[in-house]
Amino acid sequence: MKMLLRKLPWLIGTLLAVSLFTFMLVSLLPGDPAVLILGAGVSPEAIAALRLELGLDRPLLIRYFDWLGGALTGDLGRSPMTGQLVMDAILARLPVTVQLGLMAIVIALSIAIPLAMLSASFAGSKLDRTISGIGFALMSVPGFMMAIFLILIFAVTLGWFPATGWIPFSVSPLANLHNALLPALSLAMIELALYMRLLRTDLIDTLQQDYITLARAKGMPAWRILTRHALRPSSFSLLTVVGLQLGGVISGAIIVEEIFALPGVGRLLYQSILQRDLLMVQGIVLFIATAYVLVNFLVDLCYSLLDPRVRYAG
């Protein structure tokens, strides 16, 4: 609790800076939003009127505080292009992206942890070298390439999964999972390699500690040592990286959602950028960055819950 209070000012400061940066980044984009909305060849008066309506005539800083004030109450404005409330548009598409990201992380962890344990307990063996080698190769594959190969194998050749489309979980859970598996898998494959590599190094470190030798000496089976004694102290940097890699997952989601034509936040962002829907872009970027900062803040807090060494030191 004390830690929470100590870190809170830092969190608020970061979030404010993130919002300012988002606003500046988007406001500096070229092109007058009014011209973009009305199209070329419209009378200057009409453009001036729309600028007035959108509040573009006011100074940048005032507009920022206005927007920030709205954002704090959950109002990110209304997209002048689609007429939709930005917040509504994000919330409508959020479940897809969250499900995709969570599935990807769960798949990646459930493959990476056993493999890393295998690798670490036979460190230096042929098995370890093979697993590490595959991990190394996976790190050289961009997400979109993985998606294309998965489509080629599982959708085009084998026909087991659909190549595009999305069915909401509430409509049919089974069909939803069937549709989501390929995209989630292509995201997971990239993360997997990173998780595996990290956990393997940490596990090898932990396995050399004295208490592991003790556990071995008293005749504890190797798998039990791994799961009961070694995994937890080795998992902290993995936890941090899972949090930090959320940015990578979101970046991957933009591409994967576009490839598989999934109605998620990433695709919304990409299309808003193509259409120069500035307010929408601004809102989505702020939303994503805020979520990212908050999640990593939570990961930091979890640290102290999981690791007594941090809890008592802090």
Partner: protein, 295 residues
């Protein structure tokens, strides 16, 4: 009459062979040299794309449309009948140029900021780290898409945008290494001898920080190529007529069911290149014993 042996010469030859083996064989293994050769080929293609005896990468020959490898075209033709082999060679140019420029930009700006922050500490360091934290709060692709929308899609603009993404990472590496170098005795000695700050930074700190920064460069270049291709895949990298690997994969996606080679061939080329960069970079880094945790 038996031939008289010359033990000295033999042993010298053996020494030489052993030295050769040490440099080329055991230390790095054949995989390393295979990767180096591949990278040299890619670099050569990028440099001499215009003079190599390949077809015009932009010339659509409708008759060759979607032809497979080893038919009318060495590696087949794409959806418009353009020669894939020629497009690969010309596309290498984009990857190599952006890889080099972006990494240099990140290295120079990020490295300089990191060294200054690590040496002078204080307000500047705190402010820099805070700004880096804010930049890192944005997923890389989100930031990149916004930057590209802002500065355009020329080869240089894309390089700058991707280079910008690398500033935080390099600033951190340089800062962490500077922090440990500054505490060493020779820096203290230089200070005691009355060396100026700029002399200490350039003569004492820089040479010790530059190695980890450079060693990270190859791996960074692999990542830059991935990032660029992702951008190209979304149609936001260097504009249309110029072939890029990511763009070729993106075009090939349309023909996955009928002519998979259009997407697969550039994918494999890119994969091999990034893998080689990672492999060579990783080996060099472990050779110089640079810890990943410092990043």
């Amino acid at each position: 009459m038996p031939v008289k042996k010359h033990p000295k010469i033999v042993s010298r030859a053996q020494n030489f062979a052993r030295a050769l083996q040490q440099v080329f064989g055991r230390r790095f293994g054949p995989g390393f040299w295979l990767a180096v050769v591949w990278l040299l080929i890619v670099a050569f293609c990028a440099l001499f794309a215009d003079w190599l005896p390949v077809r015009d990468p932009l010339d659509p020959v409708i008759a060759n449309r979607l032809n497979g490898p080893f038919t009318s075209n060495l590696l087949g033709a794409d959806g418009l009948g353009r020669d894939i082999f020629a497009r690969l060679i010309h596309g290498a140019r984009v990857s190599v140029v952006i890889g080099l420029t972006a990494v240099s930009i990140g290295m120079l700006i990020g490295g300089a900021l990191g060294i200054i922050a690590g040496y002078f500490r204080g307000h500047f360091e705190r402010a820099l780290m805070a700004v880096l934290d804010v930049i890192l709060a944005f997923p890389w692709l989100v930031l990149l898409l916004a930057l590209v929308a802002f500065i355009g899609q020329s080869l240089f603009a894309i390089s700058v945008a991707i280079g910008f993404l690398w500033i935080p990472a390099y600033a951190r590496v340089a800062r962490a290494n500077t922090l440990s170098v500054v505490q060493r005795e020779y820096v203290l000695a230089a200070k005691a001898m009355g060396a100026s700050t700029s002399r200490i930074l350039i003569k004492e700190v820089l040479p010790n920080v530059i190695l980890p920064v450079l060693a990270y460069g190859l791996v960074a270049m692999g990542l830059v190529i991935i990032v660029e291709s992702a951008l190209a895949f979304l149609g936001l990298s260097v504009e249309a007529p110029q072939p890029t690997w990511g763009g070729m994969i993106s075009e090939g996606k349309r023909h996955l069911a009928t002519a998979a080679h259009v997407a697969v061939i550039p994918s494999v080329t890119m994969f091999l290149t990034v893998l080689s960069l990672n492999f060579v970079g990783d080996r060099l880094r472990s050779r110089f014993d640079i810890k990943e945790s410092n990043l």
